[in-house]
């Protein structure tokens, strides 16, 4: 019986070679058991197939495609935004670089101003000393003038005093050994820049 079942299954699944198949079909004609089994298995398969057929809500299939297209459009919009997300940091970096380049092009770095302040403070010139003492000696403390103090200090000077400072620039540089790598041209640029910025 078991052997017959397997043979029927082999027959139904097409696992028999052509000659085996013909022999089996001839055998079935004379065997009620085999023909009954074939009928039974075929019946089971069609029952199973029928079990898979069901009435469905047709609206699902009608709405499937339009719904899908809406979803696709949403996805496209989303992907458009997503596509630009990696560009944002790049643009930010670019803007940062441009701002910095632009800033350095038009201004003198803080360190030069400090150097200048320290240079002036260290000067042996009596005139500079007089300028300093006009405001307050405490503002210049061992070369440590902060930016704001320097601005405040130079704002107190009148035009003639500013002129005097410019005239003294070579002497100031010569006297300050720590900054002897500061060229005369740079000193002049610094003074002019400070004048432009109304620091001097």
């Amino acid at each position: 019986m078991k052997n017959n079942k397997e043979r029927v299954l082999k027959y139904l699944t097409g696992l028999m070679a052509e000659d085996q198949k013909t022999a089996f079909e001839n055998e079935c004609k004379n065997s009620d058991e085999l023909s009954h089994l074939i009928e039974k298995y075929r019946g089971n398969l069609s029952t199973l197939k029928e079990m898979g057929i069901a009435d469905v809500d047709e609206r699902y299939f009608i709405n499937l495609l339009p719904g899908l297209m809406t979803r696709k459009e949403k996805r496209n919009r989303h992907s458009f935004i997503v596509r630009f997300v990696p560009v944002i940091p790049a643009v930010a970096v670019l803007i940062f670089i441009l701002i910095n380049v632009f800033y350095f092009d038009i201004s003198i770095p803080y360190s030069y101003e400090k150097i200048l302040a320290e240079t002036i403070a260290d000067s042996d010139s009596g005139t500079i000393d007089q300028l300093v003492s006009q405001y307050s000696a405490s503002l210049i403390d061992e070369y440590l003038l902060d930016d704001e103090t320097l601005v405040e200090y130079f704002e107190t000077l009148d035009n003639s005093e500013v002129e005097l400072s410019v005239q003294f620039n070579y002497q100031v540089t010569d006297n300050y050994y720590d900054y002897d790598d500061l060229s005369e041209d740079n000193i002049e640029i610094i003074y002019k820049s400070l004048l432009n910025k109304k620091i001097l």
Partner: protein, 182 residues
């Protein structure tokens, strides 16, 4: 003849006709859905696969090479996606305990409203679920989608001999299950 019509629609779509795509999608959407449903056993997963497949179809149809029948190419996408989902679900089941609420939701959203039909499908699902995935795949393609071994071979990339063997074991198990139920 069917192939010619499909190829014609694909060519129209490649030329820019969205209505050709709609026609093609409408023609095959039911087959896609039912294949996925038989493989996965519930509406929600089948719906997800159907939508995914239609989206893939829209995206990839322009790269269709006309070397095989359109429906075997389409079935290849559906079976691959369904098998991937089954693997994902297997992994999820291994990590988490199956959520009752999700199962309830799956049956609640079903597009099959008739109770008798629902019961029949549940019975069928129970039988199919007992088959190993590879056997289920062949069984569904052969018995429900009525494809030949050659067509299934084109879809799955397996030899006809291997497929016959898989179908034999699937059929054997299904018959045993049905006999036991009686």
């Amino acid at each position: 003849m069917i192939e010619d019509k499909d190829f014609e629609l694909i060519n129209k779509f490649i030329e820019g006709s969205d209505s050709a795509f709609n026609e093609l999608a409408r023609k095959y959407q039911t087959k896609i859905y039912w294949h996925a449903r038989r493989m996965l056993g519930n509406h929600m997963d089948a719906d997800e696969i159907t939508q995914e497949v239609l989206l893939v179809l829209y995206k990839k149809l322009k790269s269709f090479n006309f070397n095989s029948a359109f429906y075997t190419w389409l079935y290849r996408i559906v079976t691959t996606r369904s098998l991937n989902m089954l693997n994902r679900k297997k992994l999820k089941k291994f990590i988490f305990i199956d959520d009752e609420e999700v199962s309830e939701l799956k049956s609640h959203n079903d597009i099959v409203k008739n109770i008798d039909d629902k019961e029949k499908l549940a019975k069928l699902g129970k039988v199919l679920k007992k088959l190993p995935v590879k056997q289920r795949e062949v069984f569904v393609l052969r018995n429900f989608d009525e494809l030949s071994y050659e067509e299934i071979s084109d879809i799955t990339g397996k030899s006809v001999g291997g497929l016959k063997s898989n179908y034999f074991h699937a059929l054997k198990k299904v018959m045993e299950l049905m006999e036991n139920e009686k």
